[in-house]
Symmetry: D2
Subunit: 336 residues, 4 copies
Amino acid sequence: MLIVMRQDASPEQIEEVVRVVESKGCQARSIPGGDRVSIAVLYNKGALEEAWFMDLPGVKQAIAVTRPYKLVSRETKPEGTQIRVGNVTIGNGRLVIMAGPCAVESETQAMTIAENVKKSGGDMFRGGAFKPRTSPYSFQGLGEAGLKILAKVRESFDLPVVTEVMDLSCFDMVEAYADIIQIGTRNMQNFSLLRRAGEAKKPILLKRGMSATIDEWLMAAEYIMAGGNPEVILCERGVRTFVRHSRNTLDLSAVPVVQRESHLPIMVDPSHAAGFRDQVMPLARASAAANAHGIMIEVHNEPEKAQSDGAQSLYPNQFETLCRQIRAIEGILKEK
Amino acid sequence: MLIVMRQDASPEQIEEVVRVVESKGCQARSIPGGDRVSIAVLYNKGALEEAWFMDLPGVKQAIAVTRPYKLVSRETKPEGTQIRVGNVTIGNGRLVIMAGPCAVESETQAMTIAENVKKSGGDMFRGGAFKPRTSPYSFQGLGEAGLKILAKVRESFDLPVVTEVMDLSCFDMVEAYADIIQIGTRNMQNFSLLRRAGEAKKPILLKRGMSATIDEWLMAAEYIMAGGNPEVILCERGVRTFVRHSRNTLDLSAVPVVQRESHLPIMVDPSHAAGFRDQVMPLARASAAANAHGIMIEVHNEPEKAQSDGAQSLYPNQFETLCRQIRAIEGILKEK
Amino acid sequence: MLIVMRQDASPEQIEEVVRVVESKGCQARSIPGGDRVSIAVLYNKGALEEAWFMDLPGVKQAIAVTRPYKLVSRETKPEGTQIRVGNVTIGNGRLVIMAGPCAVESETQAMTIAENVKKSGGDMFRGGAFKPRTSPYSFQGLGEAGLKILAKVRESFDLPVVTEVMDLSCFDMVEAYADIIQIGTRNMQNFSLLRRAGEAKKPILLKRGMSATIDEWLMAAEYIMAGGNPEVILCERGVRTFVRHSRNTLDLSAVPVVQRESHLPIMVDPSHAAGFRDQVMPLARASAAANAHGIMIEVHNEPEKAQSDGAQSLYPNQFETLCRQIRAIEGILKEK
Amino acid sequence: MLIVMRQDASPEQIEEVVRVVESKGCQARSIPGGDRVSIAVLYNKGALEEAWFMDLPGVKQAIAVTRPYKLVSRETKPEGTQIRVGNVTIGNGRLVIMAGPCAVESETQAMTIAENVKKSGGDMFRGGAFKPRTSPYSFQGLGEAGLKILAKVRESFDLPVVTEVMDLSCFDMVEAYADIIQIGTRNMQNFSLLRRAGEAKKPILLKRGMSATIDEWLMAAEYIMAGGNPEVILCERGVRTFVRHSRNTLDLSAVPVVQRESHLPIMVDPSHAAGFRDQVMPLARASAAANAHGIMIEVHNEPEKAQSDGAQSLYPNQFETLCRQIRAIEGILKEK
């Protein structure tokens, strides 16, 4: 924390700030400058709140300097985290492709799509059994029946499965079936769910909140790690902006920023960012070119009949082309 | 839904769209125009997804026309909903002031602040017992001990109490103690929590999500009403924008828009929008001037020692001045 | 500027940063902390760019500490600037109401509206002669004929007039007719225009850019003041956000923030923020309650026939009611 | 335009809307639905404003259906526009790389960088002679001296040059020297400048406004085309969002959307979007993978000494690697 004093701050005001800083268990170091004095706050243990200092007389500004996260920080653990799920490793340099329908709708649907995912070179299967829906009148997922279908997909095609957990009440059940447990964008700051995820024995795929800063996102991951689960995979999926031609705006700069700040692997979900099929392929290739550790794609055998998110689901043949292009881009980046 | 065809759409493409519309159980009515044909989708029962039509050959755009919400709509219930809590009624024309600390920290703190709230003319007491915190290392609230303190405040000062519920596991407990149950901004689309709120016997104060559109917010209220609880109070609390000089940007136009679209009462929380004390008073007066049904304000007897959100909490004497100004503004609006 | 080093920064890296700081003509002061070293940059004269330091080896972050503006800063001139135009003073405590149509369309239209503005208690008349329009096919204003009508309004009703300048080529002409020259939101960073405004002999009303931070806005005002014109009036008019129910989101926290940071007066234009008439009245009252130095309102005698922005123009009788309410709110704030 | 009536709209109200539509020279066609009536507005010639109808009694909503642009639309001209500059063609399938420093600082600097650009496989040279700067105290460019250096670069290395025009007063001069005239993000809605660009004999590179929708951006291009200049190149450069870890958020979905809506070529400038060097390379590769017609990159021989935007300028060897990767990605997309 750096506390910047007003130009006209009196010596008494400066002293009072120092006193308050020390009352919080920190050290204060005054830095006289040309125009004004600043006070550095050192040796802080817990999170300092700018608010504590902002209102003291003579204070112009309080600026947080260090990041609030610890366990997720690359400063704490310089080497990248690798997460192994079945035969797939996320974070070891090979780009991981997770694909499947938005929601598991039937065994036939899931098996048909999974076969295509496998054949095209996908590494994992995704599909929702519990669906968070904006409207209470929309399809809410098959529940445990959907999880059972996912188990069958894993068995039949040797594809690990990723599926979303929506709340505490279904966590045990999802944990029992899934290889990776997804926490969705609307739950990124559902702190009770994050704490439960910290006790899970399975890796967590943590989607970025629709309007979360990277600090907030990493703090959400910190909740999980602080709870005892070191296996967290981050997933950028677009943020809410003024833009209206896509569902969300994919923030690809999150990839290099997270890779610099944290040791956790980071994937990208271009399907939810785009919202429209004709944007998904360019954004998926872009995600690979940005050097993400993985991508997550919605594919459907009959998108126009999908019970949710059909417009953003690729056709099987598009997915096949995309896998080929992504693997080729991956190859180019390795050459460097 | 209105489906706009491309200028060069063929008659076969138009026919195919009509066929798909009818396969969804709706009627299609083709509207030839100067440049192109549009197709109106009529008699739709459930929610139509633009996605179903966007990708059909020859389609340029699909535009949702009617709102997805039903129960919360003013078209469904033209007169405004009034919610009675103890001696206080929200939505009957008198502006309701809810005030108190961000978090209940101790009995002494809560009782001291409550006395001030009562004396200044506040109508209800607010205070968190369970706190959603961005960092796992921050103060998380007193839990049931905090709820007990709230009960004592109610008893001692005849002030109904509002407090936040964070998850399913503590819902019963919060419901037992609170007069109004608050669902916070990060939980606005926690659909499991909304469903449980639909079964609650107490009114729900539903804060707007940090990046929620009004449609999404009203759909969240629809979840609660569809679950059987008609007593929902909406609360605008600022949205996330590019702006950095305040914690969030207070969207006061939400007040007239919600009042036109819905019969539910709408309050404003300027404290969380501002994040800084010197912005809270102007924004609180502005909320009253915008004709909100109520305002929710953070007050603390010793803001600089508060365990959370101290920088945005008013001092007791500021709160007193504010109450006087707000009541005077309320008087002006009634004169009209 | 504060430069935060990485935890693992070597002494050589720290020394190199110090060397670079000094090569920019500043002093460097190293601040050892618990986890890492920070380096304060002191005695900087010009604008420092974070970029200069961000990429040096061992640097984690560079944080700008002091504001880049000088002349507009309240630290430079603690007392508020008052700007006198005819019999009206902006910034002296009395709220100034500027009102009129979006565009001057005819003498009859302007005179009719001006009469109403005068009668309702408006202080100044606004109306565009040159209109920035998103579409090249929309009405672009009457040009000099419009300015002549404005001159007639001033003469007939003793109302100073505000009108917008769109580019360098019409600046002299606008300056000759207007009492206050408006620079619109799309021109806030038209630096050539700002420089010309710095040479003008008339006050400048500088609207906030649609996505400008307050720093950028004050820097735009700095251009004008640095050019020699000390009479700048700032005008908040809403910013672009994800919100779709209003044209822009009115950022009322800009009022207290600008009043703390700068000595320049700040007005609010709720009409352009709202975009819809039924939002304008609540937002206009809210602007007064937030303690703005003035408000700017669109009024039209026949809004449904207006050639631009009809939907956000008040009817004369609405304007009359609004003026009464605003004056009453102003009275309340003075009592404090 | 589609006008949606309220459920309780009376036959008289519907008739009145029809009357108003027809008074605007359009045809009205009423569409009775299950719950309410909608009215389609047909055969509109000019731009219709939603505002004209929004306030009529009984109207719930007015929805613009067709796009306001004509000349830039792919519906008007289905085949993509190709723009030839020297030996380079933009829009013909080969990705064009424009590179160079943010500002031309000296002949030595420009020539050194240009040599590197040429050698690495860049197609055009970019460099600013007139610089729009947020602060009046920052370096503002070399002016005509800078343009002369650009001319020398063109001559020496056979590289066409791109440079920015800031205002009407320097337009002739810039037009005389440049091969492509750039209009910057802050001038995207400087309509006077757009009109002048419409008369230019050189192609215009039109950067997207920092908070412009694609409709607004295409309308700005429409100004240029309507003025008589058919050679417009669009350039996405990031939009302003709540995100703070990059200067702007690169909106790559703009690439497929513009390619669907318009026949004009679209490039991407990842340097200004990122703001930080370590984000530029991933975003540049992503732009190529998204199938942009070109990319614009800042390169500097001594970024740490650059007078503007040094932190986002690549080192020459990074640029070389990047060109190689981009050409390889281009190859992959052609294979499809």
